[in-house]
């Protein structure tokens, strides 16, 4: 699965529409993931996961920042997220299935806040991009 030139354009475009809100989208995606897929909470026993949690907000900001980093280096996502990839492989070891779940929730959040911008073409590109990010983060697992 390769990101085409138009995929890259679409992804950059929608992220620029999200602007500074992307941090909030990260937090909202996490919250939706925890509510919709309760097993994902097992990775955060040390967090307050109630609605509006400051920890979830902060973590959402981190997740969003990583996505933005990937967008800004969309020609070399593996390079841009190399340290994060190491972290997930060696320390966090989040089961690969969970990246799909978070990616899906992120798409839901974008659909809610930018329905007009999430055309079918952009939807496809963003889905591919999120898959690519998940693949990079799990690439060194074994």
């Amino acid at each position: 699965m390769v990101l085409s030139a138009s995929d890259k354009t679409n992804v950059k475009g929608i992220f620029s529409k999200m602007g500074g809100q992307v941090e909030n989208y990260g937090a909202e995606a996490l919250e939706r993931m925890f509510v919709t897929y309760p097993p994902t909470k097992t990775y955060f026993p040390h967090f307050d996961l109630s609605h509006g949690s400051a920890q979830v907000k902060a973590h959402g900001k981190k997740v969003a920042a990583a996505l933005v980093e990937a967008v800004n280096h969309i020609d070399d996502i593996a390079g841009a997220l190399s340290k994060l990839s190491d972290l997930h492989a060696q320390k966090l070891r989040v089961d690969p299935v969970n990246f799909k779940l978070l990616g899906h929730c992120f798409l839901v959040v974008v659909a809610i806040h930018q329905p007009a911008a999430l055309t079918p073409e952009v939807h496809a590109s963003l889905d591919k991009f999120l898959c690519a990010v998940g693949n990079v983060l799990t690439a060194k697992y074994r």
Partner: protein
């Protein structure tokens, strides 16, 4: 048998009452074919699927999308009995249509995104939870008679 809380049933039926089945069904099927192009394998006789624009406007796609989502309505009418409701459809998808059940999960997730775009803030996390549960149950029921 799946257990539905009163709240889940309410979230499902109240949202469903506001869904334009023809539009939503058409959109969901079109997006499935666009976002996961390999799903086009089941629709070789649907004519022009050469671009997202072609797919969105394709009358056969729109009609079939409406058909699929209308059938979804049957599940919502029979929340306590979805497996039985879909028994024949499950056999059909296995024996005649030869559809990998993974495709039901893909369509379910696409439907969630279409609903989110349509209902925006009203598609709360609790609402998403109930609907994800529903699409999961529907996918499971459709796969249940596979052999």
């Amino acid at each position: 048998m799946v257990h539905w809380s009163a709240e889940e049933k309410q979230l499902i039926t109240s949202l469903w009452a506001k869904v334009n089945v023809a539009e939503c069904g058409a959109e969901a099927l079109a997006r499935l074919l666009i976002v996961y192009p390999w799903t086009q394998r089941f629709f070789a006789n649907f004519g022009n699927l050469s671009s997202p624009t072609a797919i969105m406007g394709n009358p056969m796609v729109r009609a079939h999308g409406k058909k699929v989502l209308t059938s979804f309505g049957e599940a919502i009418k029979n929340l306590d009995n979805i497996k039985t409701t879909y028994s024949k459809l499950s056999e059909l998808h296995c024996e005649k249509l030869h559809v990998d059940p993974e495709n039901f999960r893909l369509l379910g997730d696409i439907l969630i995104i279409v609903l989110a775009a349509h209902f925006t803030k009203d598609f709360t996390p609790a609402c998403q939870f109930a609907w994800q549960k529903l699409v999961g149950v529907v996918a499971h029921a459709l796969a249940h008679r596979y052999h």
